[in-house]
Structures are given as structure tokens and as C-alpha cells.
Symmetry: C2
Subunit: 586 residues, 2 copies
Amino acid sequence: MTSYTAPLADIRFVLNSLAGLADITALPGFEDASPDLTDSILEEAAKIAAGTIAPLNRVGDLEGAHLKDGKVSLPEGWRQAWDVLVEGGWNGLAFPAEFGGMGLPNLLNVAVQEMWHSANMAFALCPMLTQGTVNAIAGYGSDDQKATYLPKLVSGEWTGTMNLTEPAAGSDLAAIRTRAVPAEDGSFRLFGQKIFITYGDHEMAENIVHLVLARLPDAPPGVKGISLFIVPKFLVGADGALGARNDVACASLEHKLGIHASPTAVMAFGENQGAVGTLVGQANRGLEYMFAMMNHARQSVGLQGLSIAERAYQQALTYARERIQGRPVGWNGEDRTGIVNHPDVRRTLMDMKCRIEAMRGLIYKAAAAVDIAHHHPDATRRAEAQLLADLLTPLVKGWSTEIGNFVASAGVQVHGGMGFIEETGAAQHFRDARITTIYEGTTAIQANDLVLRKTLRDGGAAIDGLLADIAATADRLTAHDAALAARLGAATQAAKGSVRCLVGLPQREAAAVAVPFLELMGTLVGGQMMAEQLIAAQAAPSDRFLAAKSVTARFYGEHVLTRIDGLAQLIQAGAGLVMALDEDLL
Amino acid sequence: MTSYTAPLADIRFVLNSLAGLADITALPGFEDASPDLTDSILEEAAKIAAGTIAPLNRVGDLEGAHLKDGKVSLPEGWRQAWDVLVEGGWNGLAFPAEFGGMGLPNLLNVAVQEMWHSANMAFALCPMLTQGTVNAIAGYGSDDQKATYLPKLVSGEWTGTMNLTEPAAGSDLAAIRTRAVPAEDGSFRLFGQKIFITYGDHEMAENIVHLVLARLPDAPPGVKGISLFIVPKFLVGADGALGARNDVACASLEHKLGIHASPTAVMAFGENQGAVGTLVGQANRGLEYMFAMMNHARQSVGLQGLSIAERAYQQALTYARERIQGRPVGWNGEDRTGIVNHPDVRRTLMDMKCRIEAMRGLIYKAAAAVDIAHHHPDATRRAEAQLLADLLTPLVKGWSTEIGNFVASAGVQVHGGMGFIEETGAAQHFRDARITTIYEGTTAIQANDLVLRKTLRDGGAAIDGLLADIAATADRLTAHDAALAARLGAATQAAKGSVRCLVGLPQREAAAVAVPFLELMGTLVGGQMMAEQLIAAQAAPSDRFLAAKSVTARFYGEHVLTRIDGLAQLIQAGAGLVMALDEDLL
């Protein structure tokens, strides 16, 4: 059993010094977001995360979710914790007041969600999916749909799901076969099976609002024939009252490596007369709507990478301080000291810590870009911010989740033999983390997005802009730390070389080194984030927290940024060989 | 449910072309090891691994080991499989004929054990521990102890365990507190608790022979006061018949992340009148005896890294061939093709494959060195081989297990969402692999061994010899593949720079970058192994298997060897910063 304490000092530092919270709250629409309010929200969220949600993490892993007699039960205490979020209005933090939300910045919401995910990733998936459902309906739903569903989803009285995947349609959504048949009243009847549906069924909320991708009878084949539907678990009357049970049921739950308490459902639509649904937006544009929401969903999963890393780090650090074992090499201190003073344990902890702080920088910066893209009065600034958010999203998702796995594994290692024993809890983070590089698009899909859509398509123009920004950071850094500045500058040059190499390759070869390029770019932008934090920290060098930040930034430079040369060499050399072997010789 | 097929083509290639099986079988003592015999042993082992042991892997994971009413039960089928090994004499493959063994080379045994571990890691731990027990008694036991215990352990009718760890004594064996009190008849009574005892109790064999580290009453403190004892589960009479139950009991079993069917026991010695034991060798030299056996135990765990990687690779490859999903980028082939033709899936599979073949080269080469060190008629050659085995052991254990984890995780990733579902089986390999970087000395302990004992102590002399050998391989490679030769040569130079840097550092700083140095050296020696395989393969370039070997070797050069520069930069720059932060600022 391990505890969680929200890292408020670092969260505040990154919000203020790097992500520009003050600039964000000054945007039109955020007039209520005073420093006092944002600060008390962070404080209160930290209390709920530590006191209410985190203590359920282990019981969630042990009990898991179960389907019995057609009902999905969640672990003891789950519902009470959800009620706390509903009563506090936490689900509506970043949604407009017209639907009952608080109208606060996405950036602030990301900081709060970081705490939820650190406290209990299996639990936090429920608000995450519900917020995604709100985004879809708010963005593309009719006024009627908005009025019917949004207030209850924003409050969290109802929860939401995304129904994309089918047995033969995973990453390849073009293969979707679920059918939607028009009914005489303008609604539709859906028939088909969806798999991997997170929080597909449970009893924690009065109703569940399913967003479902399906094909109309006259739809063209492939991705241009997919429409988006709302299918509620209980039908909703014109007066808003809940009516009959809809023809949608949880057929089974998956037995998973991790996030045991998050019910991952096989959902059966239309086993009887057909599941009643309504069309969202226009027919055959469902995939387009889903992709428009991808930034949010992918940034959320990237955030899980950060969150699970933070949790694993806290647990490993606590263990390393408490576990006494031998005299560290060359140690001059007290005889009985924790393994935290063994050189390799310390190296591992520093490696975890610097990556966590780099991830936090990247993710919060991307979250701020989303606020600017939506709220800035100047259209040019909005477009620039959207471009940046689009470019950073595959890094947020792809890189942070890989690092989340890396850090969770390091957390097990710090525990030695105890890390392999389930009671310790370190192994749960390792298991939970493993899904993050897979769902909402695997790392390879993020890398293809970065390389094929966002680098090759414009000949590298957008990414050159990002690299120029990093080069500018390196220039500013020179006055503060010439060695780190030189390392960041050289890494930026290596990245430029990789971009030039990529844009000259056929698509197939570029895709073959897309994941190494994503790792390179994530590592580089992480380096920029640490450089920016070092510069900000040196404004008050006598502060111990800020002095530590400078050491951590330098450590990142020496232990993480140093990987970039090798990745650049790989990209330069290795694209051609990937497909060189006849398949039967693998 | 997944199958396993022993990769006999690659095993034979590495045995013959790299590890020099013909030279090993020509050594004195291996007169019976004809090519026909060794080959039929490989064929038969492959059948048992695939047909008998591998089918129990999933049931082992699901059922696990259980303690009830003082008895430890293993999964259905476990005992029958063990009987197959006993009846075939498989446990005695590499042991002398005088104790009932076959007297065959360690190298051949390693190839067989690779198949056992791939088939079922939790199962294969039992023969592994039993063989370790044989080595200890054969090396340091009295004639009486040998006569009493070895025939039954060599046959596998009895199994063996190593009892080192206690709650406060993990990596730090100096802290051992188990007591051994002399009895009037010359035997001892042991009192204490041991934890993490693999196959500490079960009903698969008639008797279990525990090797136990404990302190005599007059023992000096620390590592120089630890003695080694034999404590059988059932006392053995002078006639060899089993007598009374000894005062040793399984107090509980751990709930672990993986290897569920391997019973990891808390063992209670002397809860009543004291557990009867006999001293092995001289008093207070127990740790020395244990360390003398470390090469075998650590090479065996390194082998598990290879084995689990091979199993994960086979499963991922099968899935990638069968799973149809979308049209690969730039694909000109048939419409319905497996994801094996998606560029990143192919890159991942190649990355797994090339590391597996590099590991097999390293591990088999180290195994051959052990045979030479024990059997070569020339003392100088024996000493050289022992030096090489000592130098390679931390790489075999430290690097191969890290790579085993990396490959098992990649195997999950290839499966996408299915990889996270336990039924698929990919997740079990990922969970099972996780222990290998921890037990028998964590990666950090291997790295300290490599850096502090085997690099700093002789000023880098031994490792310079290894680097000269790699440079010679690079020279010979030039005629076959100049580009790979240049890459291997440059990597060797970078490693030399790292060695020079390390020998100039204080111990504490050298230990702080020991794990990156181990990764560097493992990667480099892996490169040498692939280079040697490429050279050997080019002897018959028209053979498709051998042609594939050349591609795989080049892939290793471009995708794996390229990491070395960054590791060398890290070692050059990063040792000082590891301990720079005050501990409370972590």
C-alpha cells in the first residue's frame, strides 16, 4: 500500500514559469480564473487525489471490475469517490458555464487530471472518457443533443464512452462493420459489436452515453462511410427523464494485464430490436469528428504517462529512503543509510525525476497551446497555437507513454526483489502503464502521424519552425549554462539532419524509422523544456527547489539528451534495411 | 495459448560457427560427445520443450503454486513433465559420469536449458536451481556429502535450492542472521528465516536439498563469518534411505508479478528443535563458495533473458503474420496482408530478432569459455578462458536480462490492444521477464562487478584485452562489410574512451555510471557477435538462412550499435552529477 502526494511545487512551477498560466487566464472567457481560485483548485484537487482517490488504487487492482447477471460492479469505494467528483463539479472544470461547467482553462484541468491519473489510473479513465464525450457532443452535436446530454455529462451524473474498435477494426477503422439503420422517427437502430470499450458499463452513474461509429446502409466503403451516433444506455425522454433500457449490453469484460478496475467491455448493440441512436452532425463524417477530438484524447493518454511515472517515482523514492542495505560505494556518511545513497539507485531516481519534469513541461505546454488555439482573440495566434498543439500531440502521447513505461519499470528495479512482489504495489504501476503506449493509437501510429502527416506533407516546414524555437532556447540558455546550451544546440542540429533525411525518403522508408524519430523529437523537446525550466529557475538561485531544478536540467542533458546522436545516426542509416529481409526469413 | 518451436537452425549455427562446439567436444573428458550424439540431443530436447514443457506455460501462469496444509502444490501436469526430465537423464547432461551424469559440455547443456526456459521459465527454474546445488556440493562438499546427495540431485529425483536472502539481507549478504549451532554428533542445528527461496518446497521430488548460508556462534561479523550448510527436507540415513522430516518448513509463498508457478517460498528453519544440517567445506567460507558458483547461476539467468526474448519473438511474429489490419504504407503487394508488412511492426520484429541472435552469440561464447576453463589441457588457455568467462558473466546476466525485458515488451506492443489481454499470452512473457534483471544480483550489481572488480581493479587491463579482440573482429570484417566494420571499429574506440574515463574516476563516480557502461559493453560485444556471425555466414552466401544472418547483422549495426556513442558521451559527462542533489530534494 503506497500513498500519493501531489507534487504541487513542481506543478505550480511548470504552470507559471513554463506554460504561462497567467497569460492563459488573461484570455477572453477566463475572467473568473483569478490566481486565488486556480490556486485553491490545485490545493483542493491535491487533497481529493491523496485522500479519496489514491487509497482506492490497490483495492481496484485486487478486486477489479466484474460482470454478473448483466451488471458490472466496480470495487468497494469506487462510487463514493465518483460522487465526490460529481458533487465538487470537478468534471466540468474546463467546460463552458452554459452547460454547468466552471469555464476554466484546459491547462488547469490538465494539472487536476494529472493528479487523478497519478492517484488511480483505472479510476481516472472514467472522467477522461466522459470529458471526451462532452467534447464530441459540444463540438458536433445538435442543440437538442447538447441540451439533452451535456448538463448531465458535465456534472458527471452520466458518464460517456467511445465505441470505435471492433474485432477486425483496431488501428484500421476503415474496417468498421457496425450498422446503423434509419428509423421512421429520424432516429437510427444500431447493430454490431464493439470491443475494448473503456467504462462500457457500470452502475456508478444513472446513465451512460455511448458515442458509436457505425455505417449507414448507403454509406460508401472505407473511412468515408462512417457516421457517429449517440446511443444512451437508458433512453432519455423529451423532459429529460430516463426511460427504457436501450438495446445495448455489456457482453463480457476483458481480463487485462493492468487497470483491472477499469471495465473494458465487449458491447453488444442491437441483439434484439436494435439500439436506438441519434446521428451526430452529418452522415459519413464520423471519423472526421473523432479525429478532431483526437488531440484531447491523445494528450490525456500522454498525461497518463506522466502521472504513472510520478506515482512510480514517489513510491521508489520512499522505498529507497527506508530500505537499509549495505554500505554504499565510497560513502562517507552514517553507517545506516538508505539505498538512496547507493550510486546506481540515485542515478535511477535522477533519471526518473528529470524525465518526469521534462514530460510535465511538454504536456503543460501543449495544454496551454490548446487554450490559446481556442481562446486567443488574434486569429494568427490561434492558428499558430493550433499548429503547435498538432505538432506536439504525437510527442505528448507517443513519447510520454514510452517514458511512463520506462519510469514504472525503473520503479520496480529500485525495489529489488520486493518490486516483483505484488503486495509492494510497484508492479501495479508497471502493469497499469503498459496500456498507455497502445490505446488511443499505438506509438507507431503517433510516429506515423508525426512523420507522414506533420513532417513529410509540408516538407518539414512546421517541424523546422519547432526546431528554430528550440535553437532559440539554446541561444538564451548560453548565458545560464553554456555546456547544456551547446548540447541542446548540437541535438537540435542532429534533429535537423534527421528531418532533411526523412523528407528525402519514400513514405515506406520514412515510416520504418518513424518511431526512432518520435523518440528523438520527444527527447529533444524534453530537453528544451528542461532548458526553459533552468532559465526560469535561475531567476531565484538561492531557493533550494529552484537550485535543484538546475541540477535536474543538467542531469537530463548529460543522461538523456546524449541519446539523440545515436537516434540521428539510426535514422540516417537504417530506413532501408527494415524491410530488407524476405518475410519468411523472420 | 501459444506454441514454441526451438530455433534449432540458429542454435546449431551459433554452436558451430561462433561457440566452436567441435573444439569443445574435442577437449579431454568429452570423448563421448560425437556430432551424432550432440545433434540427437538437440533434436530430442526440442521435442520435449515444444511437446511437454511449453504447453504447461499458460496453465502454470493461471494456476500458480499454492501452499495448503503445509504442502506446496504445483499446477496440473507439472510433475509428469518433471518425470520426463528425470527419466531422460536430462538434469545430468553436463555432470560427470561418476555421479550418474552424461559428462557432456556445459555449452551443450546451455543450448538445452535455453529451450527449457523458452518453453516455460517458471518450470525451468527447478532444474536450474538443482544444477546449481549439484555444482556447490560437487565443488565443496565432502566425499560423504557427495555420495549422499549427488546421485539423486543429478538424476533429478531430488531437487535443490539456494537459501541466501533474508528480510534484512538482500543484496547485502553481510547482514545474514540465520544461526547454526554445533550438535554433539558433528552436525548443526539451524535457526532462522530465509525469503525468496525458489522451489523452496513442492511435492514433485522425493526430497529437497537446501543449501543454506548461516552464522556459527563464534563467527566474525560481516561477510567473513558466513558458512554454508546442507539442510535436507527429509533426513537421509547412512543407507541412503529417507528418514524423518527435518525442522524446515515453507511458511508462505509470495504473490508475484510473474513466474506464478515457480514457488517462491519463505522458509522457516528451526521453528522447533532446529533444522539438522551439515557444514559444506570449511567454516566461515560460505560466501566464497557461493561466489564461486555465481558464474553458473548468473549465466543461467542471463540465458533466461535470451529464452524469454525468443519466446516473445515467436509469439509476436505469429501474430504479426496472422493479423490483417489496414494497408501498409507504400505497400505494393496483396491487399490482405498481415501487419508484419507494416514498416514499424517489421522494424520492431527485426530489432527483436537481431538482439536475440546477438544474445545467443554472447551467451554461448561465455558457456564455451567455461568448458575451456575447466577442461583444456593447457593451464594458460584455461586461465585465459576463465578470465573471459569472468569478464563476460556480468554482460551475460546484466545485458541479456535487460534486453529480455525490452524484447518481451516489444512483443506486447506488436499485439496492440490484444497484447494487454491476458488470454493472448504476450503479457505473461512481459511479466515473467521482469524478475530476470533482479534476482541473482540486480543489473546494478552486475555493473558494479564489471566496473569496480573487473575494470578498475586491474586498471582496465582485462577489458582492454576484450576490446582488442573486438577490434580484431572489426578488422577481419572489413573485407566482408566495410560499413559495419567501420561502425564496430568506431564503437570499440568509444568504449576504449569510456574505459579510460572510468579508470580515472573515484569508485563512487565510476559506480554512478556503471549501468550505462554495462549497457555499452553489452551492446558492443553483441555487435562483435553479429559481426562474427556475418563473417561465418558469408562462407555460403547462397544459403537463404545465412544470407538472412548478414542482413540481421547489418540491422544490428544500424539500429543497435548506433546507441554506443550516446552512452560513451553519458559516461564521459555524467558521473559527477548523479550525486549532486541533496537527498531531500529528490
